[in-house]
């Protein structure tokens, strides 16, 4: 085994060396130009994709060279257990990927830590591991895709895609990567046998493991096919996004409307005695529109939503948030010399959570908003949320006052004190939010003589099946902060419910599985909401699909070679999972050959 491992190492050593050199050169160049530890998330995603693709190509190539029948027999015809052979091959490539991906990042990390004043936190030292595991997951997916039956094996490439959507962060994200790697390794182990195209028949768990990515793949494929319907609506010119005027009273109209128009739509049917005057006021006023945050910076996350840094040109300062010290680390803007650290207030207290610059004036984290005063070179806490609430939108101007949202309420703070002092602001009023912030897509506020009209529009997730009852609510908030509902307007989805919920009725089980995978090891996020329950009609449709799938499985398994328990197991699986399971059944098992299908050999013509 060790010989095979060594030979594989030697075989790809040049590739690894070149990849190492290129990776190091690119990272070094970029590191000279910018602080690689403080890049927005898409930069890390871009590098991650490159590593996954590189690993996948390596897996495809390596196994592709062995997968030809003669080489495969030769490979496996060794006095070694098949799993040891697989372990030697994949182990060697894992080492090579370590050199090509993790080592350059490690070197750049070490450079930044020892030779620059940039911030290198513990979380940054995990980046080499993450990059390596990304590449390894790509490699295993590629290797499995090449080794197993290609009718379904490419479904394995879906698994690394989970990294794009996973909610976990930091070490938890490494856990997600590890789970995917283990799962792909299991798949490769299952397929790594003399007849890799055959589906294991005796081990139901192995069957499920092989079938799972195929079913998920079929699920996504069917879901994607739904877009053909949208294409048709586009061609016909009836798609709500492409129509000259969006459907009235719908989601698209609410999304596109200017704040003024949306508020007018919101109160168009109001019988409030003041409504007529409000209409005039709205038409003349500036409307302040806010969209809530979808993510907050998480302590020790591997990446950044956006850079946690800002510059103070007047004082020649660069301030970078350190997750380790929970303070802003300061260095010279021009000489790049390390200066010190800056916490909150005169006490230089630690920030309670990673803190991110917002606009020209403020910084925020999950719990509070801060202001940096360049003259005193000090951070001041300006607004604080009550315990149990998290930031949904930091301070934004709203006429005389400034506005902040938590996941539960809107807070109005005095604009005068905000401008004239650096003290902690006391909210003038708190307006509770009746809906869920995870469904909130926008808030539109207009000042009245005493108070505000506030419009909450809850449409987030309406086309992804997460929100079933979108609506707009308009509140009248008086000068003392008392609010009353003026109108609540149900909004239509603009697309058929059957279309927007297809990710559910295609397979409620796989949807739950996907949502579970997305939240694997992730801390709960108050800014995200659980999907709303489906309408009964959609549940009936899902049941019908499962029944159809069950019946299809009865028919299909009759034409495939299965043991009795295997056959009824599949029938049951199709009944539970639905159409994607039926698709996987069709892909995994060839149809049983019938005698009359066999073409009789014709005697050669004399």
């Amino acid at each position: 085994m060790i010989d095979l491992f060594k030979s594989e190492l030697l075989r790809f050593r040049l590739w690894a060396a070149v990849a190492f050199a290129v990776n190091l050169a690119v990272l070094s160049f970029l590191s000279r130009m910018m602080d690689l530890a403080q890049q927005p998330i898409f930069i890390y995603q871009l590098f991650g994709m490159v590593y996954v693709v590189a690993g996948a190509l390596l897996g495809l190539y390596q196994m592709g060279t062995y997968r030809k029948p003669n080489q495969w027999l030769s490979l496996l015809h060794r006095p070694l257990h098949r799993l040891k052979i697989a372990g030697a091959l994949s182990g060697a490539n894992a080492v090579l990927l370590l050199v090509a991906t993790a080592l350059p990042i490690l070197l750049v990390c070490a450079y930044q830590d020892t030779m620059t004043a940039r911030v290198v936190d513990t979380r940054h030292w995990l980046l080499p591991v993450a990059a390596w595991w990304l590449a390894v997951s790509g490699y295993l997916a590629g290797a499995y895709a090449m080794v197993a039956d290609r009718r379904y094996s490419f479904a394995a490439f879906l698994l690394p895609n989970l990294f794009m959507y996973a909610e976990a962060s930091g070490v938890a994200m490494l856990g997600v990567q590890l789970v995917v790697i283990v799962f792909l390794a299991v798949l490769l182990a299952i397929a790594f046998k003399p007849d890799p195209s055959s589906v294991p028949s005796r081990n139901p768990l192995a069957v499920l493991a092989v079938a799972l990515p195929v079913q998920v793949g079929a699920y996504f494929l069917l879901w994607l096919l739904g877009f053909a319907a949208e294409l048709g609506w586009n061609v016909a010119g009836t798609h709500p996004l492409n129509a000259p005027e969006p459907p009235k009273g719908g989601y698209v109209q609410a999304q596109r409307a200017k704040g003024k128009d949306l508020l007018l739509l919101g109160i168009q049917d109001s019988r409030d005695p003041e409504a007529a005057l409000w209409r005039e006021q709205i038409a003349l006023s500036d409307v302040y529109t806010t969209q809530p945050l979808r993510n907050l910076p998480v302590r020790n996350s591997l990446t950044n939503i956006s850079p946690l840094e800002f510059a103070d040109g007047d004082n020649n300062l660069m301030l970078v948030f350190s997750h380790d010290s929970e303070r802003f680390v300061t260095r010279g803007l021009r000489d790049q010399r390390r200066i010190g650290a800056m916490g909150v207030g005169a006490e230089q207290a630690a920030f309670p959570a990673p803190t991110i610059p917002h606009g020209a004036m403020y910084l925020y984290n999950a719990h509070a908003v801060y202001q940096y005063d360049s003259e005193q070179q000090r951070m001041f806490e300006r607004a604080r949320l009550p315990p149990g609430e998290v930031m949904a939108s930091p301070l934004e101007p709203a006429g005389d006052n400034i506005l902040m949202f938590s996941d539960r309420a809107a807070y109005f703070f005095p604009g005068r004190e905000a401008m004239s002092s650096l003290d902690l602001l006391k909210p003038l009023m708190r307006v509770p939010m009746s809906g869920q912030v995870g469904n909130l897509s926008r808030v539109d506020v207009v000042e009245l003589l005493d108070g505000y009209l506030v419009s909450y529009t809850y449409t987030w997730g309406v086309w992804s099946g997460e929100l079933q009852q979108p609506f707009q609510q308009v509140l009248r908030v008086d000068g003392d902060g008392h609010s009353r509902e003026v109108t609540r307007r149900a909004l239509s989805m603009d697309l058929p419910s059957m279309y927007t919920t297809r990710n559910v009725w295609l397979s409620p089980v796989i949807r739950e599985l996907c949502l579970g995978a997305q939240d694997l090891f992730a801390a709960s996020d108050p800014l995200r909401m659980k999907p709303q329950p489906m309408p009964a009609s959609i549940l009936w449709l899902a049941g019908a699909c499962c029944l159809l799938s069950l019946l299809g499985a009865v028919w299909l398994t009759g034409k495939q070679a299965h043991s009795t328990s295997g056959r009824w197991g599949w029938v049951l699986l199709c009944g539970v999972i639905g159409l994607p399971a039926l698709a996987s059944l069709w892909l995994l098992y060839p149809m049983r050959e019938r005698l009359d299908d066999l073409r009789l050999a014709q005697p050669a013509a004399a």
Partner: protein, 689 residues
């Protein structure tokens, strides 16, 4: 050698920030007519003179804008150099001109400074910007930059040191804030002088640089304290401030304090407080009607040397040894408003500024006290856009009339030259504040309206400042459709009775409080006022005051209390009944009565009169089907500052008055203005183009 000439240092009176941000009185101007016209005959004589002048052609709107080319012209204490800021486009530079002749020298090609101060030794300049103070050596390249924690952090040049200033610093503490007075020398060396829990308005230093007195805001009044050798405070005086802070001018070697203020009397004047705390008047307006506007000290003796009064007729007087020279200068500028800074030494030049209501941009002269000759300087530097010639501009005619309750009310009148005054439309311009006043100086809007053929009445109704404490406090809270408004209305009717203005073509315009008055006029006096133009108008003054106190940018602060000022004016913010009449008499509550067209102008970011108040009123008028126009400068503050919004303001006013009163047609808007109006004009009134 003869005795050294007194070096005179001009002390600019510190002004209380605009209470309601008056625009109408924001441009410094100076009087052309030294005539006191407190009776009809005197006014008729002046009117006849205006009637006899040649009519003026129409000038472009931009020609009336005061040039910003030359700012902060300052004579060095030794009289050898004049420093000034020069604005070219967006770039401001700092220059020094030798008074002995020769070319000006550029010290800084680019600066953010808006105010210059000379050090006592004349070897350093202090260039103050909004948040910083730069020191500059006149010879060499030395200098430091000192951060100011607020725009009013500069207290004064330290008269006890060769080159130092006294600054006020705000110190944040866990429980609030404290105020520190420090000396900063030209090289940045910092010496703490005092620290206090209260806001320090001003300080006085003795010859050794020790702080001997301070003026402090004590929550509900101002107070003057003497500081003894042990750092203990002894209260010497206390008073309440209406608008302009009292100032500590100097401490004499005998221990007397010189100050300017209206403490212990009606008018603001130069005062001397001796060691026994006996207060004496050093100089007050000889006419007995105006507050002191500016005082210039002799830095050698710390005695007042030149005083000026500018509320009705601009007069400048010399005191003591300067009396004869000042009189000689003013004789050479009959009818002009003269400002004087004196150099220290027998050969030192004096700097003389020349202003008038018909002179758009100030002129500058150097005076040789030995020969008595005057030499104009900075003529090229002062040139911006060409101003209208003085022959085309209207002279400001000061006059007074008896209100129906017998009180003598002041105002100014501008008449279009050469026109029949009985047939011209009349516009009443109301100043903001209301604690503010129209001055004797050039006023761009009034001049433009006069050039367009309107007679312009600028009312310094009771409640205005500059005319004594009693005058300012006389409304006793009657700011609705009451006594103050009556002063304006009666002033208009009095002018009509004198044959000034066509009674069928009278309009009213103003900004801030003036805008409020304009709304009151078209709401309650529609038979008199046919049209109203209201800039940043509070539609309900009671609501505005309350809101300004609670949320506005001029509420309770360390340096003053709006509530205290309001109480002085007869409006107790803690007693709603004291201003309930303002709500009942407000244009908002009486919107249904409006019968005249009205133009509303507002700033989208106004922190004094919030845009929501103007919009609420405009929406109400629209809802009621009234003829209203609304222009909102998107990012504008209480008054427009940028050229395009200023042009829009004036154009809309011109157009509105032309349409409803028949004055000259405004020149067409430029493409840029047209585009701006398209987006900023939120309601277009009936019949508007």
């Amino acid at each position: 050698m003869g005795p050294p000439r007194r070096a005179l240092q001009e002390i600019k009176m510190k002004t209380f920030p605009n209470l309601l941000g008056a625009l109408a009185c924001s441009v410094p101007l100076w009087i052309a007519m030294p005539t006191r016209a407190d009776d009809a005959q005197a006014l008729r004589t002046a009117i006849a003179a205006e009637r006899a002048r040649a009519p003026a052609r129409q000038y472009s709107r931009t020609a009336f804008e005061v040039s910003r080319a030359l700012q902060s012209v300052r004579l060095s204490p030794d009289g050898r150099q004049v420093a000034y800021l020069r604005q070219l486009g967006q770039q401001r530079s700092l220059w020094v001109l030798p008074t002995t002749g020769g070319h000006a020298r550029q010290l800084l090609p680019r600066t953010e400074a808006d105010e210059l101060y000379w050090s006592r030794d004349g070897r350093w300049l202090f260039a103050k910007a909004r948040r910083s103070l730069a020191t500059l050596a006149i010879e060499g390249r030395d200098g430091v930059r000192i951060a100011l924690d607020n725009p009013r952090g500069m207290l004064r040049v330290d008269p006890s040191q060769p080159a130092a200033v006294v600054l006020r610093e705000r110190v944040r503490t866990p429980s609030g804030e404290r105020w520190r007075v420090v000396r900063r020398d030209a090289r940045g060396q910092r010496t703490p002088l005092w620290e206090d829990e209260r806001y320090i308005h001003d300080v006085a230093l003795d010859a050794r640089g020790r702080l001997v007195a301070l003026m402090r805001f004590d929550g509900d009044h101002d107070a003057l304290y003497r500081v003894d050798g042990n750092g203990r405070l002894r209260e010497a005086l206390r008073w309440t401030t209406i608008r302009d802070q009292a100032g500590l001018l100097a401490a004499t070697p005998e221990g007397d304090l010189l100050l300017d203020g209206d403490v212990g009397g009606n008018f603001r004047r130069v005062l001397r407080l001796d060691r026994g705390n006996v207060l004496r008047t050093v100089h007050a307006d000889p006419r007995g009607e105006a507050d002191l506007d500016r005082v210039v000290l002799d830095p050698a003796t710390q005695q007042p040397a030149v005083v000026s009064y500018r509320s009705t007729v601009a007069t400048t007087h010399g005191l003591g040894a300067a009396q004869a020279q000042v009189a000689a200068i003013t004789r050479q500028f009959p009818g002009r408003d003269i400002g004087i800074t004196i150099g220290n030494g027998p050969g030192a030049a004096w700097l003389v500024s020349e202003r008038a209501s018909t002179l758009r941009d100030a002129r500058w002269h150097l005076y040789d006290p030995r020969s008595g000759r005057l030499r104009p300087i900075l003529e090229q530097e002062a040139k911006g856009s060409p101003p209208p010639p003085e022959t085309a501009l209207a002279r400001k005619l000061p006059f007074a009339y008896r209100a129906s309750d017998g009180m003598r009310v002041h105002g100014f009148l501008l008449l279009p030259p050469g026109l029949d005054t009985a047939r011209v439309p009349l516009v009443a311009l109301v100043h903001g504040g209301p604690i503010n006043h129209f001055r004797t100086d050039y006023d761009s809007i009034a001049q433009l309206l006069a050039n367009r053929g309107y007679a312009v009445f600028q009312s310094n109704f009771r409640g205005s400042t500059g005319l004594g404490r009693d005058y300012a406090l006389s409304p006793r809270g009657d700011y609705g459709n009451g006594r103050v408004q009556q002063d304006i209305v009666e002033g208009v009717r009095w002018l009509l009775a004198q044959g000034i203005g066509d009674p069928q073509r009278v309009g009213i315009a103003g900004h801030s409080f003036g805008g409020y008055s304009a709304l009151l006029g078209v709401t309650f006096q529609p038979d008199l006022f046919k049209v109203g133009v209201a800039g940043a108008p509070p539609a309900d003054l009671g609501w505005s005051m309350r809101r300004l106190h609670e949320f506005g940018n001029q509420g309770a602060g360390a340096e003053r209390s709006l509530a205290v000022t309001m109480r002085l004016l007869g409006l107790d913010l803690d007693k709603p009944e004291s201003y309930a009449h303002l709500r009942a008499q407000s244009p908002l509550a009486n919107a249904g009565k409006l019968r005249r067209p009205v133009l509303l102008i507002a700033g989208g970011e106004d922190r004094t009169v919030p845009i929501r108040e103007v919009i609420h009123y405009a929406a109400m008028l629209r809802h009621l089907g009234k003829d209203v126009s609304l222009y909102v400068e998107p990012d504008g503050g209480h008054s427009p500052t940028e050229p395009l919004p200023r042009d829009a303001y004036v154009y809309l006013m011109e157009e509105m008055l032309h349409r409803h009163l028949g004055g000259a047609k405004p020149e067409s808007p430029s493409p840029a203005l047209h585009a701006h109006l398209k987006s900023a004009l939120r309601i277009v009134g009936k019949g508007a183009p």
